[in-house]
Structures are given as C-alpha cells and as structure tokens.
C-alpha cells in the first residue's frame, strides 16, 4: 500500500511566522502535490512537482512556496503566515500522469 505521511496532524502558528509542512511518500512516486481543503471550496491545488527540484504552480500559489530536494519528500512553505491560510492541508503523490493520487491524512493548520 502507498503511504503518504504528513509530519503534523495539527499545527498552531502565529501571523507572520514562516511555516513548514512536510510530506514523505514511500512508493518512489514521481509526482507530488499540495492542496488545501476548505468548507464549500473543496480541494484546491497549491503547487505540484513532477520531479526532484522541479515545481509548478497550481491554482492558488500566492503566499506559498515548495521544495523538493529528494524524490520522496515535498515541503510546503508559508513564507509569512496569515489568518486566511488557516486550513486543512493535504499532500498527495502519484506514479505518473493518468494514475491515481494517494493522499496523506492532512495537517490542520491554524494561524492566530
């Protein structure tokens, strides 16, 4: 079974802090994704990566950056956290195009 592990289930940070969310997958998947999930808005793609050191903007990249130094790890960075970034963050990975994405259990992030 594919396992996607997100480092924290719950996180509370303050406005203006730099926040790191970590994601690791154990199936040698090429593609990795970061989403946020908000009530009434569904899942929205923030950033994705098709290879190591490669990144592409998703639909809502503003205020975020990412890092993929190793194939198995994809980090989401909130450069200066704001209250409107309070959300559930979900990481996913897939073997390739036309393959299902497998999700972690999410990090519920609160920015105070």
């Amino acid at each position: 079974d594919v396992k996607v592990t997100q480092s924290s289930r719950y996180l509370v940070k303050r406005t203006g802090e730099k926040v790191f969310l970590e994601c690791v997958q154990d199936m040698d998947h090429e593609n990795m994704f970061w989403y946020r999930q908000d009530p009434g808005l569904g899942l929205r793609l923030i950033y994705f990566s098709y290879d190591v050191k490669m990144k592409e903007k998703g639909d809502i990249p503003e205020g975020y950056s990412v890092s993929r130094e190793k194939k198995e790890r994809f980090s989401l960075i909130l450069e200066s956290a704001s209250t409107n970034q309070t959300s559930m963050y979900l990481c996913a990975s897939s073997l390739g195009q036309g393959q299902p994405q497998h999700f972690g259990d999410g990090t519920r992030l609160s920015i105070l």
């Binding site: 098709y50 036309g98 994405q101 999700f103």
Partner: protein, 111 residues
C-alpha cells in the same frame, strides 16, 4: 472553465440498500476519472478509477459508470454499510496529471 460537480451535497440511505452518487463533469477532453472516499479526520482514500475508453468498471461492492455522451459519472455502492458513511468526491484528469475535484457528497447510512 472546467468544473466537476456532484448532484447532491447529502445522500441518506438505509443500511443494506444500494447507494448511487452522481457526478457531472464539463470537459469532454477528460480522459481519466477517480472516486475518492474521505472519512472524518482523514485524507481522501482512492476507491476506484475509470478511463474514458470504458463505460463501466467494478470493484468490491462498488461500480463506476461513465456516460461520455452526457458527461456523467456515477458511483454505485452495493449493500451500503455504516462504514460507508463518508464524503465522496469525483475527480477528473484532463491529460495533464492534475486532477479537478468535485465538491463532494456526504453519504449518511441509517441503521
């Protein structure tokens, strides 16, 4: 623009009955579709997928039907159980590896 929608935000069924969850998509170029199940406090879990060259695919207690003529996707769950209570999402792939997700239908199973 592209959108993937589910017809009903909530579906309530009796335990043991069959459930049908519907999804409409708008992009005729979509070539791959996935159904996910999300339980409270967990991430979406892959259930079943179907490619655009098929119109039906069966799994364990689940069947996905694809009607490309009317751009409609459905998930059928046989003999619904309390453990099936969750939010169900459809997602479509438009040849890019990115997925577009619907809003989700909450399935409530009454004992």
């Amino acid at each position: 623009g592209e959108s993937v929608g589910l017809h009903l935000p909530t579906l309530s069924v009796q335990e043991g009955d069959n459930s049908i969850i519907n999804c409409a998509y708008s992009n005729s170029a979509s070539d791959y579709f996935i159904w996910y199940k999300q339980e409270s406090g967990k991430g979406p879990q892959f259930i079943i997928d179907i490619r655009s060259n098929m119109d039906k695919r069966q799994g364990q207690r689940v069947t996905v039907l694809l009607n490309k003529t009317v751009k409609h996707l459905s998930l059928q769950i046989a003999a619904t159980q309390p453990g099936d209570s969750a939010v169900y999402f459809c997602a479509e792939n438009i040849n890019t590896g990115k997925l577009i997700f619907g809003q989700g239908t909450t399935l409530q199973v009454k004992p």
